[in-house]
């Protein structure tokens, strides 16, 4: 029998939903556990081997303490292939929505006052690629089952997981939805990485962009369009930022020039 690839599933700051999404593959769970030699998976098991070298490291969550930075670097050393698993590790997700506004310390003080923490030194949440080299990305808040299983099997076979290069609109059209953006709703589908199978527009809810920004996203055009449709510029840009994480930071300046 072929040797089973070893895998470690590590969580940093986030909602733990990506790991949970993995546990939510109820029908495939037995297969996952038998196909992979799972060395670390704190959310699901107690016999974890922190020092194990692994073929695949799935890293969930963003980094926002010095302790985590250290741990992440250790994981990088132990892993052959390091995969950013889910929006938080891909681009920071909601906790990074104000990244770069320079007000993080003030926010922290507002919340915790002058408390000096002994557990770790906190900092503003950042995606993992700011600290270590990332070999592959699985986007999603959380990743969708089919796409996640596909990525896992590809990794198991030593392949790079396929990174969706189409926006949410593709799958939205596959599900034959009436376009919300066309009808004047603030839908971020065209700016957002696909793969989620467009559950939100399929329920008449505009996409809020939770999977993160796609390469080709044309924020400027969408901003202009939405302004024409009657939205306020700051409302639109704020919406872009909520799930834009670190990816939107460079684009903000350009957007501000447009308004």
């Amino acid at each position: 029998m072929k040797k089973r690839p070893t895998i470690g599933i590590y969580g940093f700051t986030g909602c733990a939903g990506c790991q949970l999404a993995l546990l939510d593959c109820e029908d495939e769970l037995l297969d996952i556990f038998s196909a992979l030699d799972i060395k670390v998976f704190y959310e699901a098991m107690s016999n974890n081997d922190d020092n194990a070298l692994v073929d695949i490291a799935l890293v969930e969550g963003s980094i926002n303490t010095n302790k985590q930075t250290q741990e992440l670097k250790e994981i990088r050393e132990k892993a052959k292939v390091l995969v950013a698993f889910g929006s938080c590790s891909n681009h920071g997700c909601v906790q990074a929505m104000a990244l770069g506004d320079g007000e993080w310390e003030q926010r922290f003080k507002q919340v915790y006052g002058d408390m000096k923490f002994t557990v770790a030194i906190p900092r503003e949440a950042q995606p993992i690629h700011k600290f270590v080299k990332v070999d592959a990305y699985i986007p999603g808040c959380p990743p969708a089952k089919p796409q996640m299983l596909r990525a896992l099997t590809q990794l198991m076979h030593g392949n790079q997981p396929t990174y969706t290069n189409s926006p949410v609109c593709l799958e939205c059209m596959f599900r034959e939805n009436e376009c919300l953006l066309y009808n004047g709703k603030l839908c971020l589908g065209p700016l957002t990485i696909g793969g989620c199978t467009a559950p939100c527009p399929s329920h008449n809810i505009p996409c809020i962009g939770c999977w993160g920004i796609i390469d080709e996203a044309n924020h400027i055009s969408e901003l202009k369009l939405l302004k024409e449709k009657g939205f306020k510029a700051e409302d639109i840009i704020r919406r872009f930022r909520i799930f834009g994480g670190s990816d939107i930071v460079e684009k903000i300046q350009k957007l501000l020039e447009v308004i």
């Binding site: 038998s34 609109c169 059209m173 009436e178 065209p190 080709e216 044309n218 369009l225």
Partner: protein, 338 residues
């Protein structure tokens, strides 16, 4: 060609006849629009007065948005031989039948695509000529009248439908439904038919000037408006999904967890996506949105002439009510002319 009559009072009985030939699919409301859905209730079979422009065109039956073409193990590839049921689509407008004919030509030229043909053979098309709405412009693309590609074709002539029989299956259907299809056409049929056509021709409200656009595509290749469109385009790909003659697809492999078994998936791709023309070495033949839009409009307004004698736009108006930023055949044609 054989023509018969179906009295409007018998319209509701049509379902029970069609049902004998396969699954019945008809346009059903979806928000403000329509989509072809499988129907079980005879009441849902409605032959609308106006042309129905569904969100996705008939091509969704012929090349599904996403399906497995092959299964494989490390030792061998086997084609996906799933049984495809007969499907009867009702209320298909003429322009869409033209589109299907174009697809069929496309998929059988040079090499034959069996996945398409297997489905084409199992698709029964019941056409219906309706009145155009504010977006239809099939009169400008010569696709408002269709002569082949359907099995039955309905014209609403007041208190009855005139039914053209276009194929052997169509003939089987009218024979099965001999109690509702009447061979004896009323005397006034030709007069009424001419009236209908006249009324239809008068009803077009969208009149893009398509004269000479083929050459203009060439002449205006470097025009600035392409960049303006490029700046606007969201690369959402909706236009290509909605267009009844867009055919591009991508192929990727999926493996089954823990088994030496995989599937090769084929799903709709769009020329509006960034990596559409990307090749090794990160060289992109169509890196900009403007270039990709040019490709699309070349395909719709010009390129097909080289192969098939007519452009591939059939004037269904889908791009008009799909593109959020107003890039569509009429707006492009307008720019070409300005």
């Amino acid at each position: 060609m054989r023509a018969l009559k179906l009295a409007k009072k018998d319209e509701k009985k049509l379902f029970s006849v069609l049902e004998k030939f396969g699954e019945v699919w008809s346009p059903m409301p979806k928000g403000k629009r329509f989509s072809y859905e499988k129907i079980e209730d005879p009441e849902d079979l409605v032959l609308h007065e106006e042309c129905i422009r569904t969100i996705l065109p008939v091509k969704k039956f012929l090349m599904p948005p996403d399906f497995n073409i092959l299964s494989f193990t490390p030792q061998k590839f086997t084609i996906n031989n799933e049984e495809i049921p007969f499907k009867i689509v009702v209320s298909v407008p003429a322009c869409e039948i033209h589109a299907v004919n174009i697809l069929t030509k496309f998929y059988t030229t040079d090499y034959v695509d069996n996945y398409y043909m297997k489905r084409r053979e199992k698709l029964i098309i019941i056409g219906k000529s309706g009145l155009p709405d504010e977006h239809c412009f099939c009169h400008k693309t010569n696709t408002s009248i269709v002569e082949e590609g359907y099995d039955l074709f309905f014209f609403d002539l007041g208190d009855y439908y005139l039914v053209w029989v276009g194929s052997e299956i169509g003939d089987d259907i009218v024979r099965k439904g001999s109690d509702i299809f009447d061979e004896n056409l009323p005397k006034d049929v030709s007069q009424k038919f001419v009236e209908f056509r006249k009324q239809k021709n008068k009803s077009y409200k969208n009149n893009p000037d398509m004269e000479g656009v083929t050459d203009l595509m060439e002449l205006m290749y470097d025009a600035e408006f392409w960049d303006e469109f490029g700046d606007k385009c969201l690369s959402c790909g909706q236009c290509t999904m909605a267009c009844p003659t867009c055919t591009c697809f991508n192929i990727i492999d999926d493996l089954e967890l823990n088994k030496e078994l995989g599937h090769r998936r084929r799903y709709w791709d769009s020329c509006q996506f960034k990596d559409y023309s990307l090749v090794a070495g990160q060289h992109n033949f169509r890196g900009s949105k403007a270039e990709r839009l040019k490709l699309w409009y070349t395909h719709k307004l010009k390129a097909f002439i080289g192969h098939f004698g007519s452009p591939s736009c059939v004037g269904c108006g889908r791009c008009i009510i799909t593109c959020p930023v107003d890039i569509n055949v009429p707006t492009v044609v307008e720019k070409l002319k300005s």
